[in-house]
Symmetry: D2
Subunit: 290 residues, 4 copies
């Protein structure tokens, strides 16, 4: 019996970089949170402290800033691909890189003036092993609520079941989604219009949420995922994680009041958590995308 090193990785997390591009008096800003994860031949540093293969996380941070300067940022999928290629191509010890970018949305107030728009955070993750490329796009914290069109009944009842069946409840969730693109070329090879693809997928999820009469949050999850795959052929698979943000009817019978679906208590914890994958049956294998 020996004690050995297993899977391992390292990197710099949460590099907060803001890029400003200027076209006369009209500016554009791109506000990002970039995290880098590298793996490869890293046994030496673990076993002996020999760091000759360890590109420092400080350098990774500097590289995020430098590549933003040299290439601009553009679509976050492209920026993630660029960074992933850089680390694998330039470091012998590094055989795999995964770069995740979060983008915070801003609205324009004026030529060089902006207000943060708090709706969803857009995400992209690019992975590269020196030969193949994988890209996921996604979002988190897209909070949505249906005040009608949601039922929940027909579930099994055991000794501990007290929940009443309902044909009219509030359904609310914070959408966390990540979808895998079917075919990805390396940086600079064109292909998907990332911005259009992202906006399309997001809008399809919102449409599905708004027009699906649901009998469970699982059903809503599948409906949202299916809608994205139906409408966006470039997307092979989507994974959703949907916390059920419970809104409970307040029982006012003790006050002599009938609460007819008007007043709800928004609970924090505990919460249901519904997670699932929707995919094409002929999707290419996921490889190292996730």
């Amino acid at each position: 019996m020996a004690i050995v090193l297993g899977a391992n990785q390292y990197g710099k997390a949460e590099v907060r970089v803001v890029h400003v591009s200027r076209d006369g008096g009209t500016h554009e800003i791109t506000d990002l949170n970039v995290s880098v994860t590298l793996s490869g031949d890293l046994a030496a540093t673990h076993l002996t402290g020999d760091n000759s293969g360890v590109l420092t996380t400080d350098t990774q941070k500097n590289t995020v800033f430098a590549l933003a300067k040299e290439h601009g940022v553009g679509q976050i999928e492209d920026f993630a691909l660029l960074l992933a290629r850089h680390f694998v191509a330039s470091q012998d010890a590094i055989t795999f890189a995964r770069v995740t970018v979060e983008q915070y949305p801003w609205e324009r107030l004026g030529g060089h003036s902006f207000a943060r728009s708090g709706r969803e955070v857009r995400t992209a993750t690019a992975s590269h092993d020196g030969r193949d490329w994988w890209v996921r796009s996604g979002l988190h914290d897209l909070v949505v609520l249906n005040s009608a069109g949601s039922e929940f009944w027909g579930f099994p009842r055991d000794r501990y079941t007290t929940l009443a069946e309902t044909t009219d409840r509030i359904l609310a969730t914070a959408v966390n989604a990540s979808w895998r693109h079917a075919a990805v070329a390396g940086p600079g090879h064109g292909g998907t219009d990332w911005g259009k693809s992202y906006a399309g997928a997001r809008d399809l999820m919102l449409e599905a949420f708004a027009d699906t009469h649901s009998y469970s949050l699982q059903q809503m999850l599948f409906a949202m995922g299916r809608r994205v795959l139906e409408g966006r052929p470039e997307i092979a698979e989507i994974r959703l994680s949907l916390p059920n943000r419970h809104h409970f009817d307040v029982d006012m019978s003790a006050f002599g009041l009938a609460n007819d679906g008007e007043v709800f208590y928004a609970a924090d914890r505990p919460y249901g958590l519904i997670e699932g994958t929707v995919t094409r049956d002929d999707a290419p294998p996921p490889g190292k995308a996730w």
Copy 2:
């Protein structure tokens, strides 16, 4: 020498109430976080545990739900006034009530479908002592950024000063503001159109932020406050708390790159914090508004 009870208050904090109003297939939702603070003749419970004057915080919570049902919510200033009056009017021991309401914004996706809009949180605080009324409106977490039109120079330099002067920096902040209304009647007496007043004040702050060329965040604070008072005669005084969300130029000279105001590092801590009041010189006294 004796040890005595000084100022004291109590209440229920953060009652998360969601109100749905239905007009056929079109719903409206109001999403609130309500906190109640009461004070009065409360020595007995502190000194002996005699709770005969202590309206329980559980009852306060129930009251928030019940009044939302009985009266609807409407503008949050009105709902806060209604609650403040209720507690002072109905409880002998309670001589002062302050009710603070936060409102989370939502956008419509469909007749009964909504997405949370993350920009700012609107706030209202109503105070009542049995005779007089005070109302403050406000907001927090309105994050804004100017990528030009901000300078900072001419400050004193002492032994510990290393900051370079600049005629071009990013200015970013998360606006926290609360403004006091000049004259307030009790609930149901009309007067201010709270929704219009709020939207007006917010828009004036955004306009001032976007069109002010600033030499300090303090100057921006005063400009924003003055703009609100100039445009909204119903507002007597405004207090702003502006964290300076520093965006530092990344020095890339070590990489042989010139960073010409393109790439910035968004720092978390520490941060400057600029706080100030802008008021009319003939404003009515604040009384118990704050």
Copy 3:
């Protein structure tokens, strides 16, 4: 009618400084979060952007680091006094300084090895106006729970009251306390042994919490405050803010189980919030301590 500048202040918030002192192989670490607030003759920067009186918040940050190097940190009350004096004494425009320090506790694992001890965060606030000195000490996030010895009954019942009376409940809170010292000389003039005073006050609060049979959280608040003042003559006044961390009995009657005070649900929101001051009737006036 004119629009004028009212009260204002500014400073650097949350400077995270860690000081290491070395005595051979045995180290001591002091882990602080320092916030500075300055006020004085600051109209010019607000009205015209003239920054000639504005010691930059960047310099304030540097000063925190430099004074930690030049003087060490020692007790946080002393470090706060030192910083407050520095800013008022060295800057003509600054007539008042308030410095707040949070200290995170660590336990020793070895000569130079430490584990963060998560119990409470110790705090100190020193204020100085060029002539007088005020010091407050305190703590926050000291979470305590009594599983017996807490009753709550005898409260008024109105239309909205549903809470049952109880002679046996869990009482839990996160103690936030700040206490004002009666007489304070400037930095370096001796006087209070701050470390001993702090430990004494904290221990007295914990003792009072553990041995008080309570009928309300208000009663517990007063008991804790009184105990501190009885035992620490150097303390003139204490203010406590006690969130009621509700632990609700889970009703298991629907499962055919009797829950006899064994299983509780720890709720997040809403929560009661009890706030009060306990003081000596001959306490010196608070001046600018708060």
Copy 4:
């Protein structure tokens, strides 16, 4: 091409249950956060909204409370096993359950009085597929710091590398660890003394942290993992995730001060993140443990 449902699971997250056991005047409290994840034959609810196989998350919450009442809690590994067995054994549609429990530590102040001890949060995860059992134990938020005995040099330097080599730096991290037990019988079959095993593993990690002279955080990770496996034969594998909580020397040369390893700035973001597995080469296969 068809769009199909892929992997999916659901459950109730973050059930905050507090258990009190009474032995005369001396109480014991157990403070838990329990999350349940179930999977199995759940296609119907996703595809049609047929909930006949969906044990509601509300029932899962009730079950956590009920089993705490009926069986007590004891060691969290046992409680997690008990819950996992219950869901798989009692629900035809559920073929796999994973239950994760977080335990918050408390110190005794008196017979029924306690203070929350903020050091680490203990965790346990039990998984069950109807036949086999897997248990992981672990902890998170164990924050440790070495003020000596840490070097970092010999790393590659590329165009973007500016970090100086050092033979004396602060090394600090928040340990997040999860370790897999080699052989697990179902609930109630004895075997591992979970409490002793947990305390042993934690203490071995702290010892390794305190007495390892490190050349990289990766080396420290491996040393901590190896120490646990050497000392605890019941543990087959350990995975650690170690954020590098950077403490940067403050450069005071501009103030004419030499900072000789005394004053550090504790940074928030970005941070290095070092993750790795240490395992026995003859460890049993992980199955569905992770």
